[in-house]
């Protein structure tokens, strides 16, 4: 536990000096707040911008952040030094994962406060966001474990992030895309957020998110076994 807390403290100190990462955490909640307060169009669904940006936030921020953190630590050899100092890979993952999860949940809290929800709906909103953030973290950790450098990680994270983050938006305009998008966790997050306050059952959405998480965990295990955190040769991409 001590090692996990040390990793979290280290990440917090680092974030305060890393504007690029810090901006990512605050950009989507700030945009949602600005749009919600400044754009009022007649006939626009309730909490439109909150739900739209929340789904994008879940698909982008935890995923790119954890992939960037792990790949940077691998590239700069700091991860190797931590592992030599008796920090286990799982303690490291728990540390950086908890840190990203905590900061993303702060953002989720801002979205939650921006939306016009009842107390019960707010609880459900946060649970849905937590599930999405966890799925994103698993996918990002897999990319980080499989990449040898930040550059290599970015070449994977950008297309994957665009795919998962924009599918929910595209699916609202095209029913064919919606048929495929429904199997992604980000689309299910959007649908679950849409269904807040309605009678529709969330079972299918929860199942799809769970299957996504299992697949991402499997991908992480596969890449971690091939590459680990110690060796210099990336399993996913070459530099």
């Amino acid at each position: 536990m001590r090692h996990i807390i040390t990793i979290i403290k280290k990440q917090i100190r680092d974030t305060l000096r890393n504007k690029a990462v810090f901006i990512q955490f605050v950009m989507f909640p700030a945009l949602a707040a600005f749009m919600t307060k400044s754009i009022q169009i007649e006939g626009m669904p309730a909490n439109f911008f909150v739900k739209l940006f929340a789904a994008m936030y879940v698909g982008m921020v935890p995923f790119t952040n954890i992939a960037a953190i792990i790949s940077e630590e691998k590239e700069k050899n700091t991860l190797r030094v931590l592992l030599m100092a008796d920090v286990t890979p799982w303690q490291y993952l728990a540390g950086v994962g908890s840190y990203v999860f905590f900061f993303c949940m702060l953002g989720a809290g801002v979205f939650c406060l921006l939306g016009e929800y009842t107390l019960g709906e707010r609880g459900a909103f946060l649970l849905i966001m937590a599930a999405g953030i966890l799925a994103s973290l698993l996918l990002g950790a897999a990319v980080g474990a499989g990449s040898g450098s930040q550059m290599a990680a970015t070449s994977v994270t950008v297309p994957v992030m665009l795919l998962f983050s924009f599918l929910p938006m595209f699916s609202t305009f095209n029913s064919d895309i919606a048929k495929v998008a429904k199997y992604t966790y980000t689309e299910q997050i959007r649908l679950l957020l849409d269904s807040l306050g309605t009678e529709s059952g969330p079972l299918e959405g929860i199942l799809i998110i769970a299957v996504n998480m299992i697949l991402f965990a499997g991908l992480f295990c596969l890449l971690y076994r091939r590459q680990g955190f110690r060796q210099g040769r990336p399993a996913l991409t070459k530099n």
């Binding site: 040390t6 280290k10 100190r13 000096r17 700069k76 050899n77 700091t78 190797r80 931590l82």
Partner: protein, 280 residues
């Protein structure tokens, strides 16, 4: 002397490429042992095996004091060739992370900052430090733990002479404090001045090992002595009876300024054995 590390017939390969072959040696408590070899000789691979970062494909490494019923777990400090520092964090913050992991007090960090002359850079971000200062932070981190054995992988590689001298001083202080130091280098002067024993590694094999002076004497196959006369004139003459008359004359005439045996240095020993230079 107590043996801390006993390596027997270590071998390692990456695929079909043999990196290390039949490496055997011991490391005694309190000594500075140097592993010399050119780039690509297998030095870092051997250190990675000794520090448990890599599993050898053959042979065995036994660490801990021999003779004890329970093999003691050695406290190790490791300074790698790459710095591995958090660049956005300050010197103190970098050391604090590892002090927390090792359960070391802040007081020890402060003492080490003084010893490594990093006090003034305490709150400076690592990305604003010179290479030499980063090297000292790296060494400082390796010294945080009160280690039984320090692994220093090319600690002065690419550093300026002043920083190199400071790091050498710190290594000597550690040795005087009873710490065993395992030093890899391709700098033969570093090895000659710091090490009690050296191992010469070439293409994954130890080609020679022993006390630096003894190795050089062993390879003094030329059997010559070098005489410098007053006025700077130098003569290399056979270390044999036929030189007796000439030497006696010079001594009588008080012409001799210095007289040296002409054994090779470690660089030349390595060159003679392998046909390669250490700095290749």
């Amino acid at each position: 002397m107590t043996t801390l590390i006993r390596a027997e017939h270590i071998a390692h390969s990456f695929g079909n490429q043999k990196i290390l072959e039949d490496i055997s040696f011991t490391v005694e408590r309190g000594e500075v042992i140097g592993l010399l070899g050119p780039s690509g000789a297998g030095k870092t691979t051997l250190v990675n095996i000794l520090t448990g970062q890599l599993k050898a494909t053959g042979g065995s490494v036994r660490t801990g004091e021999e003779g004890r019923r329970e093999p003691a777990c050695l406290e190790t400090g490791i300074m790698m060739d790459s710095f591995g520092l958090y660049e956005r964090l300050s010197v103190w913050e970098n050391l604090r992370i590892f002090a927390d992991i090792y359960r070391v007090s802040g007081e020890r960090i402060e003492k080490l900052l003084d010893r490594t002359q990093l006090r003034t850079a305490r709150n400076t971000a690592v990305n604003k430090l010179s290479k030499g200062m980063r090297g000292r932070v790296n060494l400082c981190r390796a010294l945080l733990k009160d280690a039984d054995i320090l692994y220093l992988d090319e600690p002065t590689s690419g550093l300026d002479p002043a920083t190199t001298w400071k790091i050498h001083q710190l290594i000597r202080e550690e040795r005087e404090g009873g710490t065993t130091v395992f030093l890899t280098t391709h700098n033969m002067h570093e090895a000659e001045t710091l090490c009690d024993r050296v191992m010469l590694l070439n293409q994954g094999k130890i080609v020679e090992q022993g006390v630096p002076g003894d190795i050089c004497t062993r390879h003094n196959s030329r059997g010559e002595i070098e005489v410098t006369l007053r006025g700077g004139e130098k003569h290399v003459i056979p270390n044999a009876p036929e030189s007796e008359i000439l030497l006696s004359t010079w001594i009588r005439e008080e012409k001799i300024l210095s007289i040296h045996s002409s054994e090779p240095d470690l660089e030349n020993v390595f060159l003679r054995i392998t046909g390669r230079r250490l700095c290749d």
